[in-house]
């Protein structure tokens, strides 16, 4: 009896271990880039200067949304600061950042620093006095020279600065696999892309992959699509009125943008797997359709981090040769050269020596060079050393950012959290049932009445 149990257990263990040993040895995914020693040393010097030569030690509790490889890369950029000041940085990750942050502030247990993808929430919290004003801590003249005015304005409330953007990401780039995509790669107008996609759809292949699932933040990639259409179709002025809550959701500019998105996402001939797959596929996994054999799709809209992320996750994918992008083309010629960016901003909640040193550190170009060196983001600091970018893709994206005629911040992160969440929910409901568009927009207008206070 005992021997039988022993034998069964041994077999079970073997069954669990065997597949791991028999892992296929194909081409490995690219390793994440390592930071150059010189840059790390320069960042350490910058950190020492930021702390005025002192070693305050202690711990900084940092609340953010990142996880996985992105988080590892991110924490790597703080290592020089930790080494120079003896401070430990404890990172807490949550996808539902806006709610968790509100709870912790209301509960009297705020993190020391928050890394918030919503500039709008930082603005709101700053106006409520929940954040530490950065004007007395930082060199404001240098800051105004290093960062675009729009980025600073977004996190300024009542003439005081409350946040520093440590990265920007160009949103809504159209990615493709050069090995199987044979459509326009420098389209001057959206119509060029739709001509190609209609042909492809007619030939029985779905041109697009879209994935909206993302836990409590599900729907955000679809919101990026809608924002792009608003920007490229109706222009930056309408875009600004929209995210400020001055433009009704039922207005033709917004309704038209939703309909453009629905023409793709709700059409089983245009998007791989149809609307059901759009709603259930995670945004992390949807681009892999570009590399499926046979390809499930040829085009995918995502921010600039995608290329490097795919190179590090999917075996055998090399930037530029296997994955490349073009900026989202304009729908009307007046709006050509408009891009949408998003970014995570760091805000200080507790005024401590470590906190102050940290905020001074993240405002330096040396830190920004490390951010560029992760291969995941573009540094928001205009002084970021261009040679720090690890791949051609990042350099191209940084060039797009620097040379764009019009730069706007992602509406969903500029809106107050209540409006933003309603927006995401409406995107999901719209893809599920395109006929309900008017009802969804009316609901959004109702939320707009109370969200902007």
């Amino acid at each position: 009896m005992k021997a039988r149990i022993l034998a069964t257990t041994a077999l079970a263990v073997l069954a669990l271990v065997a597949p791991a040993c028999a892992r296929s040895t194909g081409p490995a995914a690219q390793a994440p880039p390592t930071q150059s020693v010189d840059r790390l040393a320069a960042a350490r010097a910058a950190a020492t200067k930021a702390a005025d030569g002192a070693r305050p030690g202690g711990t900084i509790n940092l609340l953010g949304v990142l996880s996985g490889q992105q988080l590892d890369a991110y924490l790597g950029t703080f290592k020089p600061f930790e080494e120079a000041t003896g401070t430990t940085i404890k990172y807490e990750s949550t996808r539902d950042l806006s709610a968790v942050l509100q709870t912790r502030i209301a509960g009297g247990n705020p993190p020391d620093i928050v890394s918030n993808p919503s500039g709008g929430q930082i603005n709101q919290l700053g106006a409520e006095g929940k954040l530490v004003a950065l004007d007395p801590i930082l060199d404001m003249t240098r800051l105004r020279a290093d960062y675009p005015a729009g980025l600073l304005d977004l996190v300024t409330a009542q003439q005081k600065l409350y946040g520093i953007f440590f990265n920007t990401a160009v949103q809504g780039l159209v990615w493709y696999n050069p090995n199987n995509y044979h459509g326009p790669v420098h389209p001057a107008a959206w119509s060029e892309v739709t001509d190609w996609t209609s042909q492809t759809a007619a030939g029985g292949h779905t041109p697009w992959c879209i994935g909206l699932e993302s836990g409590p933040a599900s729907g955000w990639p679809g919101a990026v699509w809608v924002e792009q259409f608003v920007l490229q179709q109706s222009g930056p002025a309408a875009f600004d009125r929209w995210w400020r809550g001055e433009l009704a959701w039922t207005a033709p500019e917004i309704k038209g943008a939703f309909e453009q998105f629905g023409r793709i996402a709700a059409d089983a001939k245009q998007v791989s797997g149809g609307p059901t797959a759009v709603l259930t596929t995670s945004f992390n996994l949807s681009p892999q359709g570009l590399f499926a054999k046979p390809p499930a799709c040829y085009l995918h809209v995502q921010a600039d981090f995608l290329g490097n992320a795919l190179a590090q996750e999917v075996p055998g994918v090399k930037p530029v040769t296997d994955i490349n992008f073009f900026p989202f083309p304009a729908l009307s010629p007046d709006n050509a050269g408009s891009i949408e960016i998003s970014g995570e901003a760091l805000a200080l909640l507790k005024d401590t020596p470590q906190g102050r040193a940290f905020m001074r550190y993240v405002a330096t170009p040396e830190f920004s060079a490390l951010v560029a060196g992760t291969g995941q983001w573009i540094g928001a600091n205009r002084q970021t050393d261009q040679s720090a970018y690890t791949t051609e893709l990042s350099r191209r994206a940084a060039t797009v950012y620097a040379q764009a005629k019009t730069v706007r911040y992602a509406a969903q992160t500029a809106m107050p959290p209540a409006m933003s969440q309603a927006f995401l929910g409406a995107v999901l409901a719209y893809v599920k049932n395109p006929a309900s568009l008017d009802a969804q927009l009316a609901k959004l207008d109702k939320v707009r009445q109370t969200a902007y206070r």
């Binding site: 836990g215 409590p216 797997g273 059901t276 797959a277 209540a418 929910g425 999901l428 969200a451």
Partner: protein, 325 residues
Amino acid sequence: MTGIRIIQACVFISAAAALLLGWLWAADRIAAAVPRRIRRGVLGWLWLAPAVAFVGLYLAWPLVHTVVLSFRDSSSQAWAGLGNYRYLVDDAAVHSALRNNLLWLVLLTGVCLGTGLLVATLADRVRYEGLAKAVVVLPTAIPFVAGAVIWRFMYQYQPPGLPQTGTVNAVWTTTTGAAPLAWLVDGRTNNVALIAVGIWMTTGFATVILSAALKSIPPELREAARVDGAGSWQVFRHVTLPHLRPTLVVTTTLLAISAFKAFDIVYVMTNGNFDTDVIANLMYRQLFVDRDYGRASAIAVLLAAVAVPILLINVRATRAERETA
């Protein structure tokens, strides 16, 4: 740093114990000083006083405060009269959430109770009773969030033709040959799919309570019924069930309250999208995302109002159970 905390904890615990003993001593003294007639009553109330104070401070006062907040506006600065309650009556999202909660109430309570009773009764008769009950009770040991994450993987959907990565769809497509379903998105299945997770996680709880109650029935009653010629089903219906009645009522009330508390499962799996919203998730959104304290308080008062009659039934049934035991 930790050392100081440990010392603080020890000091706190000993101080609390000392205070309690001191209070009991003082209560004795006061009781000795009052007329003999009311001494027992006074002593009883004095002993209750610390507990009543605690409950009053941490339960009763917040309850009253919530009711007060439900009559104020979103930032609790001004009075809003019945505005928040009018929102409860008018808003379509609230109606949808309440409808879903009703579904949760019926399905969760019914299936958990039925399955729990079935497992408890059948397990009672077999030698591997422990194993059978362990299998059913094990899911209650994991947190709701963990269970929700597990089942989110299980319900995964891939377009037809691709290999199904979700267990449920894999089994569904291979056994029935039908196309895979998007269990969490499709309006026909998503509510039931979420409730199924709740049932999986709560049945063990009902099983344990009912199994204990089942074992408290004197076996002589069942043997006597069998001697009189009753079949298994008749024994169950006429001997077992009547004895179980108070326990069944108590279990039903607890399951009913769980049905209204359902939050983690809905929040993690769908966040209330696709018409799966429940009232607790709505309250969370109002409180932490929209930061409308008036509406959130109104929803809380609604939940309390729904729970009170259920709790009254529970208390009555518990008293009845104690009397029959």
